[in-house]
Symmetry: C2
Subunit: 388 residues, 2 copies
């Protein structure tokens, strides 16, 4: 298989001309008689326009096939090759990237591996986020974690903006949360994951990740798009990083939100994350307040699952969303709630319980109408946030 | 000094509301009585809307001040903090980033350091790019380099899409080019820089950069935006990497080309590069075929120079551009030509000579009219590419 990229051009752009510019300008370029002795080699690096279609709105999609020998089996060299200089050439958006199955990096854990870690075979997983995002101490984190972990939570993650800050240094947060992980393990046999946010300059970030794992971290969180795909790939292939990596979509809008430039969300948060070694990928769900397209969301889900990567729809997730989310996702999904757990009217622990109660009701095909719900955590959640 | 960010919103967006969402949602968030004991700490992490102006076209600019304690003195944590989740919230573009002078990473060399390496005090520097971009052998690179280096070139760089590929592995390219560097040094005493493209997964990229430097590399090239700012920062602060780092803008359009989302080119290629430790930064000049705004180009130049970083306007640079480029830039500039040197009608060596002849004529305030030019490399170049 080869590398195939779909570029979309808006009306008014000469798509045939642009496609040729990409196929030549993003590869070997042109050459003259001086390089006749390299003709065969030069030709072997040229890309090829294999399809060009224009719809009735005037949008054109050009499919360009790039030789695999142009890239290094990773995402950064791919992005440089397919959209490096050309990204600055005007209107034109990368809407699909099709890679050979053996391209890139496979997750070490993925859906099956995370399920194995948690000993949870088939139900959806429930994930929380520490809130407030900045300003709590490491001990505060430990206390919050204890409440939700004891209530049955599967996974918690740092807020993505919480780095290695003086108010709650990363290793201290881990130490506080590790005590909770051990307590729950001792008392119930259950594993709870805490995805620690790893930050810093690339070399120190990687060292810190190794250190955190040595000190008992059982999952990591990485802002892939602000730190770089090359950092994710380094962590994902590092033998010492034997824990799942949760990829956060922070900054994705900077490269995906525009209609006619950049790349589609499904390419960046679906395809590229899945080929860069992420075990689970967070991305905006269309249930919430972010203006997210359900079609792109579905593509992300499918791209991730095709590589055994856990989809983690986020934003706007609360217990009342569970029936709709399970209709859209089935059970191979991590339901990731920030305020939807932490701001439960009773307590964060009740927030967790409300999710599990919602799951039970979905399994039993029971109604989510407020009056049909028994008193308790789920009813309080539905009264506050409604249902979908 | 604090961190101040200008966000621009198009007409129809409630900018006051969005500014508040950013100031709260991108920092501590909201909290309730449970966190009363942390009130002071939580408040200290909140950002503040310090200015909001709407122009007569309906565009609003909100200035938001972020506490320095929210970030880690680097670019990735800054981007996550100011535009992580919010980048996905709809229309809104980061158009200016103002950082404390002591923020981030300073270049090890910059304008003064590169001039010192080359023993060139004040004239503009001339830089070439290997062409064709893909398909030549390491020996071909050495031969091309020999021609332009002997003709007086200051710097050459790999094409950004040329990674560590089988056709011309990075260490072999370096070996072939190092012989040329040594030959020129021996014969003329001049230093010629070769910016070798460093690629790979972050950990291996950093190791490879160290190895290349050990093996005689005297400059590096990095595709900062596809590999990650954290990688640039790692290289720029690594004591073993005692050579200048040239930052390439590949992929910048993905995050900068849209009118109402992403970040301005001057933020990404000017401010962020300058605070991430680049010694010289390439970016599109408005002279060429890329649709680049002269105002943004001027801002990039000024942002870079304010941190002693060499501006490297690229694309569309040929000898006929030199008078205009020097009017726009003065002499603290690296004139970077790909085809403008390699496709000179006579030879790449004549391409280099044409640039130096152009510089002499600018110094002597002589005309660039074709008929006024003496026979030779410059006249051939002007006959082919014209003048500006």
């Amino acid at each position: 298989m080869t590398i195939e990229i779909d570029y979309r051009f808006p009306p008014g752009i000469d798509a045939a001309k642009q496609a040729k510019i990409i196929a030549i300008g993003q590869t070997a370029g042109t050459w003259d008689a001086r390089f006749a002795h390299r003709e065969k080699s030069l030709r072997s690096h040229l890309a090829e326009v294999v399809k060009l279609e224009t719809d009735n709105q005037g949008y054109s999609i050009a499919t360009i096939r790039f030789p695999e020998i142009n890239v290094e089996n990773d995402i950064p060299s791919l992005l440089t090759a397919i959209f490096g200089k050309y990204s600055m050439a005007g209107a034109g958006k990368v809407i699909s990237v099709r890679l050979p199955q053996n391209y890139g990096t496979r997750p070490k854990f993925g859906i099956s591996g995370v399920r194995e870690q948690l000993s949870v075979e088939s139900r959806p997983l429930v994930m929380a986020i520490f809130k407030p995002a900045l300003g709590l101490s490491a001990e505060d984190h430990g206390e919050i974690f204890a409440q939700v972990a004891r209530a049955g939570l599967d996974i918690i993650k740092d807020d993505e903006i919480l780095g290695d800050l003086e108010v709650a240094p990363t290793r201290q947060r881990l130490a506080a949360c590790r005590r909770v992980i051990e307590e729950v393990k001792d008392k119930t046999g259950r594993t709870v994951l805490y995805a620690v946010n790893v930050t810093g300059k690339a070399d120190r970030l990687i060292e810190k990740a190794r250190l955190l794992v040595k000190e008992g971290a059982n999952a990591l969180l990485l802002n892939v798009l602000t730190y770089g795909f090359s950092v994710l790939e380094a962590l994902a292939t590092d033998p010492e990083i034997n824990v799942p990596i949760f990829a956060h979509p922070a900054f994705a809008g900077a490269m995906c939100a525009a209609g006619d430039t950049g790349l589609s969300y499904s390419v960046v948060l679906g395809t590229l994350m899945a080929y860069a070694g992420a075990d689970a990928v967070l991305y905006p769900a269309h249930y919430g307040s972010l203006p997210f397209d359900p079609g792109e969301e579905a593509k992300i889900r499918d791209e991730l699952r095709s590589r055994n990567v856990f989809p983690v729809p986020s934003a706007g997730i609360h217990p009342g969303i569970v029936p709709q989310a399970l209709t859209d996702y089935g059970t191979d999904v991590i339901l990731n709630a920030g305020t939807g757990i932490m701001d439960h009217p009773d307590s964060p622990a009740s927030g967790v319980k409300a999710f599990f109660a919602a799951w039970e009701r979905v399994k039993n095909k029971q109604s989510f109408e407020l009056e049909s719900l028994p008193e308790g955590a789920l009813k309080q959640a539905i009264a506050k946030w409604g249902k979908k």
